[in-house]
Amino acid sequence: MANLKNQIIEALNLKHLKPEDIGDDQPLFVEGLGLDSIDALELIVLLQQQYNIKLANPQDGPKIFKSVKSIAEFIQKQQAA
């Protein structure tokens, strides 16, 4: 999870944050970390670049990108498949 947080910080230029500042279940968008739609696209790029995972259905985005934990679970599920 810490590695994924580092990748998110790097990809999204969240230089003011450290991995420990991001809670596993903390919402990433709006009231949580305050990420926006461009950040969502960068997260899709991150999955593709770092994990070779393509988001088959963009409508799943809000569920997958809800928190670091939900992203980690999605990555695990895709790698096991």
Binding site: L12, L14, H16, V45, Q48
Partner: protein, 216 residues
């Protein structure tokens, strides 16, 4: 007659307000300097880190220019206009985006591949909703800028205008931002092309590379 009431520069990795250097740091990359300057000005705005160099320069200059926060209480948000210019448009970021296209294009870079994005960043930060324009000239054109800003202020709906030159290409950066109002404030000078050019050039090339800080 309109008046240039405040101005600032960012040149040779120095923040210069009203002709006085307030921060200099020559070490590291341009991005290192911009982030050091951001911290020096004691700013908190997480979106700053996501901006390209053009927007970071414009953002920092607007913070220096309006650091006393006296502008917007005096005017309605839509009475303040913004007229910017530069030579390289958004080419600095365009080239970075073109590089990213070789692998996976970066959406975060793509959104900065227009020069007027810096105007939007300044307007969002400062709460400005007046008209704005961005011109691309081969070099700072004091006459064109003075004429256009005077035209903007000839309209009753505009009371103040931020004018400026925000140029960046690679490590080269040259920023001059100024506030023009209908009334003279403190040491304000007449808004003419001659005065504009004189102020634009006053610090240019005079700063050495030594680190220097003074009270902000």
């Amino acid at each position: 007659m309109n008046f240039i009431n405040q101005y600032c520069h960012i040149q040779n990795r120095s923040l210069i307000r009203q002709g006085k250097i307030i921060f200099t740091s020559a070490s590291g990359t341009l991005d290192d300097f911009l982030e050091e300057a951001f911290r020096y000005l004691l700013l908190t705005y997480t979106k700053f880190y996501k901006m390209d160099h053009l927007s970071k320069l414009g953002f920092l200059a607007s913070e220096m220019l309006l650091n006393d926060k006296s502008l917007l209480p005096r005017y309605a948000h839509d009475q303040v206009a913004l007229v910017l210019s530069n030579a390289s448009s958004s080419l600095d970021t365009d080239l970075r985006f073109a590089e990213s296209v070789k692998t996976i294009p970066s959406p975060a870079l793509f959104v900065y591949t227009l020069p007027n994005i810096v105007a939007g960043e300044i307007c969002i930060r400062q709460g400005i909703t007046g008209e704005n324009a961005f011109f691309v000239f081969p070099e700072f054109d004091a006459q064109q800028m003075a004429d256009y800003v005077n035209l903007v202020l000839a309209s009753k709906k505009n009371s103040a205008c931020i004018g400026g030159w925000i140029e960046v290409m690679g490590d080269h950066h040259d920023v001059f931002l100024y506030l023009v109002e209908k009334e003279r404030v403190a040491d304000g000078v007449q808004h003419t092309a001659e005065q504009l050019y004189k102020i634009y050039k006053q610090n240019y090339g005079k700063i050495d590379g030594e680190s220097q800080k003074s009270d902000y």
